[in-house]
């Protein structure tokens, strides 16, 4: 186990140091004093686990490829943007736009996330144990989002591909456009149970519903929606 004091390093030096430790085969790295640093963990590669004691800023673990990055605190916006593989575990909350355009790997947020969780996501798993804000899963092209708590309005707006599981009883009323709301399938229950088991989550997969892209794939947009009053329009 190696301890790195982030307070003594500029962020690029920190990431470089982490990457060289990982390349040398170090399996366990502890980072202290992250000081809400932006871009912490950019493009880290290889195996190993990095635990950050404290909160981080924007773009935590962007372009991650391989390692497990544990943030024992909060993260700012855009956590795990464009990540390819590996894991990002956030013990507290993540800001808005968590996991944007992520391609693979897993993000687990123990607390809540802001709006647009998983925006434009292309693959991987994004698991939020708390609640999330508006437009969760907007325009996803793949991957799976699981929200244990409440969701905001515009859920799954215009998904192209991918899957969202929710158990917020109000979820259906908060659906965005161009998505469908279905009971969870047997295969999905099984796969979700595995995800929960992997991350020690106590929840019944059967209590979830599935938000999916429209079967036709053809989106419809309303640019003008006149609110006519009365049956005769007067």
């Amino acid at each position: 186990m190696v301890v790195v004091d982030a307070a003594t390093l500029a962020k690029r030096e920190l990431n470089r140091k982490l990457n060289s430790l990982l390349a040398e085969g170090e399996r366990s790295i502890e980072v202290h004093n992250p000081g809400s640093m932006h871009n912490l963990g950019t493009a880290l590669k290889g195996g190993g686990e990095i635990t950050v004691h404290g909160s981080t800023g924007f773009y935590t673990g962007g372009f991650l490829e391989g390692p497990r990055l544990v943030i024992d605190g909060n993260t700012g916006w855009y956590t795990g943007d464009n990540m390819l593989s590996g894991e990002i575990i956030i013990r507290k909350n993540a800001g808005s736009n968590c996991g944007p355009s992520m391609i693979g790997g897993t993000i687990v947020v123990h607390g809540n996330t802001g709006g647009r969780t998983g925006l434009g996501m292309k693959g991987g798993d994004l698991l939020v144990l708390g609640s999330t804000g508006r437009w969760c899963g907007q325009m996803t092209m793949g991957g799976r989002i699981v929200i244990l708590g409440e969701v905001g309005a515009g859920l799954g707006e215009s998904m192209y591909r991918g899957l969202i599981h929710v158990r917020d009883p109000q979820a259906e009323a908060k659906l965005g456009g161009n998505v469908e709301f279905h009971p969870i399938s047997a295969d999905e229950v099984e796969s979700l149970a595995q995800l929960f088991a992997t991350h020690g989550v106590q929840a019944d997969p059967k209590s979830f519903m599935s938000v999916r892209p429209m079967t036709s794939g053809r989106h419809h947009y309303t640019i003008f929606n006149p609110q006519l009053s009365g049956a005769d329009g007067r």
Partner: protein, 440 residues
């Protein structure tokens, strides 16, 4: 004959009267009527390919002054004039070096056929310039053939990953394009073939209105941090450009420069597209000429004109445009519609239908087979060579041994409008209207 029929017959007669028919109506033109009919029928706005057909003031409204007694001409045929151009050297270690300051702009695989993309890429090896992948991923065939490869970072991030960054000679973060600023990529269902759909991770045959904003850049402050991230990912090796549609150019360029761009691409309102709402193409944005002037002013006001490369696009068609753009302060230009035209496109503006008869803007296997890749590549290379000749001819005749030595003082405006817009003096006077452009 009823009253109505009589009225109809007399109308018919009157429209056949040559005196009446020849009179073009300024408001209810054929195009306007066609637009109205389309909207009346479909209840929605119209989509079209290519750039706007509206006339805008452009580089034709400027003329280049020849050298005579004030300076010596350089021999067109026997003396050298440097065209090699280094772009984006501000913060990176390997700037983009091209043999001519004429680049191929980002046009997506999807909007264009694979054959057209390969032909464009192949042409870059003949002239030593760069191609840009455009939206929806980097075709391995394009990368294999390109001399220099620019890779776009688009809001949709379709087909984009760390792997595309590794394959790039330069990155270009897209904020918008001139043909439809503020709107996202449109790719109509007829062009989303199985292959394109798989490449982009979207369902086959849908009408795609892709992501309008970057999921990981919500505003200029975030862009600053994003740029730092991309610098780190690229290890400062390759240049990072930011492409904007010409709108509030002076401010936008300053923001892009402040965010740390090595180069800024400004795409004027005449710029091409594979598909855009007609209303956006026709009624939004600033034409290329005044946009370039605004961009130059912005960089000069910040004192970074020599550091930040400026690339301009939108309606660039010949070497005279290139020479004038460079004289005004551009470091390079980028081409879309004109290289399509070099491959055989007639700018019919029906790219969005996917029925391109020349195999360029289509995914239909039969139509695609009509484009001969080698011939198309050669024609594009020829066209860019000839354009470079033209620019060099003008530069040498005005006494320059380097294309980039063309300067504002070499230009005069041919119209009041161009003069007022650019601050370049009107021919026959030493006067400008509004803000002068800094050489008197």
């Amino acid at each position: 004959m009823s009253e109505h029929e009589r009225h109809g017959a007399s109308l018919e007669k009157s429209t056949k009267d040559p005196a009446v028919r020849e009179e073009a109506h300024s408001t209810w033109s054929r195009e306007v009527l066609s637009e109205i009919r389309y909207k009346a029928e479909h209840g929605t706005h119209r989509i079209r390919g290519c750039g706007t057909p509206r006339p805008f003031p452009g580089f034709n409204d400027l003329t280049v002054l020849p050298s005579q007694l004030t300076r010596m001409a350089v021999d067109t045929y026997r003396e050298p004039c440097e065209t090699r151009t280094v772009l984006g050297k501000r913060f990176c270690t390997q700037p983009l070096v091209v043999e001519t300051p004429i680049l191929i702009s980002g046009m997506s695989y999807g909007a264009l056929s694979k054959e057209a993309k390969i032909a464009l890429a192949r042409s870059t090896r003949m002239v030593g310039n760069s191609i840009n992948n455009g939206e929806g991923g980097l075709l391995p065939e394009e990368r294999a053939e390109s001399y220099r490869q620019v890779v776009q970072v688009l809001p949709s991030r379709m087909g984009f990953s760390l792997r595309s960054i590794e394959a790039a000679d330069a990155l270009e973060i897209i904020v918008g394009i001139g043909a439809k600023p503020g709107l996202s990529g449109h790719l109509m269902g007829s062009k989303i073939s199985k292959e394109v759909a798989e490449f982009r991770q979207i369902p086959e045959g849908i009408d795609l209105h892709s992501h309008p904003r970057h999921g990981d850049i919500f505003g200029a402050d975030d862009l600053v941090i994003k740029m730092e991230q991309l610098r780190e990912v690229t290890d400062n090796r390759i240049p990072i450009f930011i492409k904007i549609a010409a709108g509030r150019v002076r401010e936008d360029v300053k923001i892009a420069a402040k965010a740390g761009a090595d180069g800024i691409v400004v795409d004027g309102a005449q710029g091409g597209t594979g598909a855009a709402p007609v209303v956006a193409a026709d009624h939004m944005g600033m034409p290329t000429l005044p946009a370039l002037v605004q961009a130059v002013r912005a960089l000069e006001e910040m004192g970074v004109k020599d550091e930040v490369s400026l690339i301009v696009s939108g309606g660039i068609k010949d070497g005279a445009d290139v020479a004038k753009a460079l004289a005004l302060g551009a470091d390079a230009v980028a081409l879309g519609q004109s290289v399509m035209a070099a491959m055989g496109c007639t700018v019919c503006r029906r790219c969005h239908t996917g029925r391109c008869a020349f195999g360029i803007g289509t995914q239909d296997p039969e139509l695609r087979a009509r484009l001969d890749i080698d011939t198309a590549a050669k024609r594009v290379a020829n066209y860019i060579k000839a354009m470079t000749h033209e620019a060099v001819i003008l530069a040498k005749a005005s006494g320059k041994t380097r294309l980039r030595n063309l300067e504002r003082e070499d230009l005069r405006s041919l119209s009041l409008e161009a003069c007022a817009m650019t601050g370049v003096p009107l021919v026959g006077t030493d006067f400008t209207f509004t803000e002068p452009f800094g050489f008197f």
